[in-house]
Symmetry: C2
Subunit: 253 residues, 2 copies
């Protein structure tokens, strides 16, 4: 590899993955503004990888939905309207509803539900704090993500799991920043408590093999998240806490 002596190469992960992570981070952190053209050369410098892995990373990020190909060549950071993100959340909720229905209809053993119930209990524990601390919020975010991932898996449908993963890019673009901003709002904790109730109901519905009810509650769960988003956006004073919202173009619909 001709070993350019001055450049230290990290061999623990592939250059492609490294570049992808670095670029995604730049996008989500707002270093790269929506609509901004992303220069390969510049990306090569900031990521430390060479052009080939950088290009692979760009293609992956395009497929992921964070970048958009420019017809004349190259890529730009995609810009989203507030409604785009709201739609993405509802979209994801719809798919999760399908997953919950599949889980209920196809049947799930008590053993498989155990980790979900553990998540539930852990979240209960966190929500007991009033008001909840920032640290507890971070834990909540992780647990919530875990709960949703586990629930998705219960569908036993690899294509659905895959699709939900893809649909999560936007809604969960930067969940920590998202929820931390929410924590600054008085209504935040109430919303989390309602969300937790949804979690409880969906488990119950799956246990009792009530597919329609399981599906309905997950869709309601998503609508709650949309209300949550709009609430956060109406409180623009907290927006500096929202790196995820760097994705929202200034002129929204």
């Amino acid at each position: 590899m001709k070993a350019a002596p001055e450049r230290e190469v990290d061999r623990s992960v592939s250059q492609t993955v490294k570049a992808q992570l670095a670029l995604r981070d730049q996008i989500l952190s707002g270093s790269l503004r929506p609509g901004e053209r992303i220069s390969e050369l510049q990306a090569v410098e900031t990521t430390g990888a060479s052009r080939t892995p950088v290009r692979m990373a760009l293609v992956r990020l395009e497929e992921e939905g964070l970048l958009e190909a420019i017809p004349s060549g190259g890529f730009m950071v995609k810009a989203f309207s507030e409604r785009d993100i709201a739609d993405s959340i509802e979209l994801r909720g719809t798919l999760e509803g399908l997953a919950a229905r599949f889980a209920a209809e196809r049947g799930v053993s008590a053993r498989e539900l155990e980790p979900l119930k553990e998540c539930l209990a852990a979240i209960d524990e966190l929500l007991r704090q009033v008001p909840i601390s920032i640290e507890a919020f971070s834990s909540y975010v992780a647990l919530n993500a875990r709960f949703h991932a586990l629930l998705t898996e219960l569908s036993r449908s690899p294509p659905l799991v895959r699709q939900i993963d893809r649909a999560s890019a936007l809604p969960f673009a930067s969940p920590s920043g998202f929820v931390m901003a929410q924590s600054a709002l008085p209504e935040a904790q109430q919303i989390l408590i309602i969300g937790q109730e949804h979690h409880r109901v969906v488990i119950d519905a799956i246990e009792n093999r009530e597919g329609a009810r399981a599906e309905a509650v997950m869709r309601e769960h998503a609508r709650l998240a949309v209300r949550n988003l709009r609430l956060a956006l109406r409180n623009r004073t907290h927006l500096d806490l929202l790196p995820a919202l760097a994705l929202i173009k200034t002129a929204t619909d």
Copy 2:
């Protein structure tokens, strides 16, 4: 570009796109068997592009869901069970249901509905033939795809449109082969007629801004397609007409 004199390069489309189309064709036509490792060098030979565009194409096809990355490196053709494909169809129908609901709720002008009604009329014309010819079936496939695409667009939700596109990879992997096989079945035309009725209902529901009804009928439409798939699979004698089903692994669930 050093212009290797013996290799004729087609400059009308990018090498990356050319490679992607060629490889997808090889996968869907069954030249590459599910589970088979796909060799870059071999792909370079068959597509005529060099390794860089071929690799970009492979990454795109992986994101598209037709290929799977091998941990140790490289890609293999993904294998699907019958249930995977059925789930993909239902998944797509669920998203289309959401699109139909969005269209109904957000309102659609008569002008926007016109092309859909034209599709409808054209399909009606085709279905008047009993039994329907293979050529008419081909036209039907194109018109049906157009109808679904137009309907999706009515949602006015770019993220949803995008997601539906992605979700269509498997269900519509090779629609022509699919439907032509159906045409060999006596029940085929009846199914198409029911499907057309669904199309009519969804338009009506959108016109009358009945979101729930619009959504419900699209989901029913997908369930019809699943029944259709199962019907085709039960008639294994026609399977040689189904290149799309090359994707189904032999040992299904």
